[in-house]
């Protein structure tokens, strides 16, 4: 399927879809090149004299928080995958009917655990992290984000594990492979697609998370990108050009991550590895 070419119909669908995402993006780009005055007097104009003023203003603030965000998002993604891949394997391999029942319960629990709205979770979480001396440090925030994303990632990863043909497990058992070896040498190599998809999603969501970030971090110098963005609005005013400019600048690294992961996503499961 990956090799068939686009028909005219699908081409139209794809282009139309692309446009609905391109136009708002264009608006963001235009706004970020406007001066305060222009944003106010003509927020929707297309013709104006572009200024780089916004960008020169924000580049310093943006660069340091991009580094912080990168540290957080990379750590969270790695840790979440380290938890979610084995857990999804455990919950996705159909061993006995009793285990399937247990899996169903676990999935139900993971589901319920995601139900606490973040603003409500943040105060008890603050207490826990404070007990461990981790409030205000990037590590506390990483832990909080891991806890936020892990149940979600497990649920997302499980269908990828389910797609692994059971014959492979049986073959491994007949070969006498230990449980851990089966996991390492058979399961994980078959999951690049799932790992890339879930990893990219976890990375991107972590990048944008701001409720934990702004509450659990105390040092303004350490604020990640999302917190910096949230700071741009207040009761009194919103500096739209700054907000949009920052949003653009700080999302660029994400594009890089996605392009890296996408090679994997596009290739999908290499056919040969199943055999």
């Amino acid at each position: 399927m990956t090799n068939t070419r686009h028909s005219v119909g699908t081409r139209v669908v794809v282009v139309a879809l692309g446009l609905t995402y391109l136009l708002p993006l264009l608006w963001i780009v235009l706004t970020s090149f406007k001066s305060d005055q222009e944003v106010r007097s003509s927020p929707n104009s297309i013709l104006f004299s572009p200024s780089l003023g916004t960008f020169t203003d924000i580049v310093d603030a943006a660069s340091s928080s991009v580094v912080t965000s990168a540290k957080i998002a990379v750590s969270v993604t790695v840790l979440v995958l380290a938890l979610a891949v084995p857990a999804a394997y455990a919950l996705g391999r159909r061993l006995t009917s009793r285990w399937s029942r247990a899996s169903a319960w676990f999935l139900g629990i993971f589901l319920v655990l995601q139900m606490v709205p973040q603003p409500m979770a943040v105060i008890p979480l603050y207490g826990i992290l404070a007990d461990w001396g981790l409030v205000g440090s990037i590590y506390g925030l990483i832990l909080a984000d891991v806890a936020l994303m892990a149940p979600f990632a497990i649920m997302l990863m499980r269908p990828f594990v389910l797609a692994i043909p059971k014959e492979l497990y049986e073959a491994a058992e007949i070969d006498g492979a230990s449980g851990l070896r089966t996991f390492r040498n058979i399961v994980v190599p078959l999951l690049p697609n799932g790992i890339a998809t879930v990893g990219a999603i976890v990375f991107i969501i972590t990048w944008g998370e701001f409720i934990y970030a702004t509450t659990l971090m105390t040092d303004p110098a350490n604020l990640p990108v999302s917190g910096l963005l949230a700071q741009q609005t207040s009761l009194y005013s919103v500096s739209w050009n700054r907000l949009m400019g920052l949003a653009l600048l700080t999302s660029l690294p994400l594009l890089a991550v996605f392009v890296l992961a996408k090679k994997r996503l596009v290739e999908g499961l290499s056919v040969g590895s199943v055999k």
């Binding site: 005055q37 106010r40 007097s41 003509s42 927020p43 990379v74 750590s75 790695v78 840790l79 995958l81 380290a82 603003p119 943040v122 105060i123 603050y126 207490g127 404070a130 461990w132 001396g133 981790l134 409030v135 205000g136 440090s137 990037i138 590590y139 506390g140 990483i142 832990l143 994980v188 190599p189 690049p192 790992i195 701001f210 409720i211 702004t214 509450t215 105390t218 040092d219 303004p220 917190g227 949230a230 700071q231 741009q232 609005t233 207040s234 009761l235 009194y236 005013s237 919103v238 500096s239 700054r242 994997r264």
Partner: protein
């Protein structure tokens, strides 16, 4: 191919975590070995006049206190109260905080995250220069003080009024007449105001009632209905666009500054911005009702964190960098916010500024906020009714009934005081 690298990264990340658990974490707090002290100040200010003011006031403080560093922490508006409440668990918070007093005061004061300032306030030499509305007490203890206030007024596009031959209105009747006259030529864009179903919308609407001598505690369902009918009329006659129902103050200001609206109701914090407009802007007070023109005093108030290590120093900062004559003037010049000190009312810096006069006058005739724990719920209920009527979701009478029920219930929940 991907795996070994991923494993290494995983190991590194776990390593980082382990290291961190033993090391830092509680790195806030004041004081250090070389005698340099730090005061942490929390605000939700964003770019603009308020931040400039803060910076200049801190510079003023630094002149006389080179050994005390001020560290300002900007917290998004929405997160400030919950973050402050969360500090109670760690017994570790800011030294000084600027909070949204008119909504959050009962919450913050009763939750124990603010320090009792009564002693400091009683000992403050200039305390008699500040009006009662600048001093916020809970159970007879002072927790918040305001060095400046923000008020609503009526902004107008002087060019448009001149063209239409309209004088800036002073009373509600004059205002209503002007709106009606302008409506045909400015369909849907005569007045830019906020009608969001929040405390902001309520703040813009309540002066209608204040002008009739009513407030949150004395208004009846009939009072509310009448005034909501006025607003419904505005919406139906093309005075305000229906979008007003979701506009916050910033949206309303943006609309006014587009130059399409003859009138805008908004606050004095926009004055600096107004001077940059490409049309002539004038200001006057909120149109007066039979009982005069009254608006609620808004703005941030200053508090000291309950867990501040050196509260004396924090108070000194509050006095010198915020309450003092010099600091108040710096704040006024940078942000357009009105000093609460009475001895500045005649100051040349302030009296020479024509646009600010209506706000200064309003500062001495403000309405009274409900002194109730549930003040936020009361305000939100009115904001919702206002928005529902503007959009056409509800008829004034229905909206007023729902709102009055909610206000009454909230008032009882909050102990009945008002």
């Amino acid at each position: 191919m991907l795996r070994p690298r991923a494993q290494a990264a995983g190991a590194a990340a776990i390593g980082m975590l382990v290291l961190s658990a033993c090391g830092d974490g509680s790195d806030t707090g004041s004081g250090s070995a070389d005698g340099q002290q730090t005061l942490t100040v929390w605000t939700y200010y964003t770019a603009g006049g308020q931040n400039d003011a803060l910076e200049q006031q801190n510079a003023l403080w630094a002149e006389s206190h080179p050994d005390v560093t001020i560290e300002t922490v900007q917290i998004p508006f929405e997160q400030l109260p919950s973050k402050l409440l969360a500090t109670a668990t760690t017994q570790d918070g800011p030294d000084v905080v600027l909070d949204n007093v008119v909504v959050d005061f009962p919450t913050l004061a009763s939750s124990g995250v603010l320090a009792d300032l009564t002693g400091y306030w009683d000992g403050y030499a200039d305390k008699d220069l500040f009006p009662d509305s600048a001093v916020w007490s809970y159970e007879d203890k002072v927790y918040n003080v305001m060095s400046y206030t923000n008020l609503l007024g009526l902004y107008y596009n002087a060019d448009m009024l001149e063209e239409a031959g309209i004088e800036p209105p002073e009373t509600m009747e004059e205002f209503q007449a002007a709106l009606e006259q302008l409506a045909p030529d400015n369909e849907g864009s005569v007045l830019a105001e906020s009608g969001a179903p929040t405390v902001e919308g309520a703040w813009m609407f309540m002066p209608h009632l204040l002008g009739q001598g009513k407030d949150y505690c004395t208004m009846t369902e009939a009072d509310l209905t009448t005034n909501l009918q006025t607003v419904q009329g505005w919406s139906q006659d093309g005075v305000i666009p229906r979008e007003t129902a979701t506009w916050d103050q910033a949206d309303a200001w943006q609309a006014f500054m587009s130059g399409d609206y003859p009138f805008g109701i908004n606050g004095n914090w926009n004055l600096a911005d107004a001077r940059g407009a490409d049309f002539t802007i004038g200001t006057t007070r909120f149109p007066a009702g039979p009982e005069g023109s009254h608006v609620f005093p808004g703005g941030e108030a200053i508090g000291i964190g309950a867990f501040a290590e050196d509260k004396d120093l924090a108070w000194q900062y509050v006095e010198e960098a915020w309450m003092s004559q010099e600091a108040s003037l710096i704040n006024f010049e940078a942000s357009g916010q009105i000093p609460t000190r009475s001895d500045l009312a005649d100051d040349e810096t302030i009296t020479s500024d024509e646009l600010v006069q209506p706000f200064v006058e309003a500062a001495s005739e403000t309405g009274a906020w409900p002194l109730n724990q549930e003040t936020a719920a009361m305000q939100t209920a009115v904001g919702e009714a206002h928005s529902a009527v503007i959009s056409g979701q509800s008829e004034p009478a229905d909206a007023a009934r729902t709102a009055i029920e909610a206000v009454t219930a909230a008032r009882e929940d909050g102990g009945g005081s008002c």
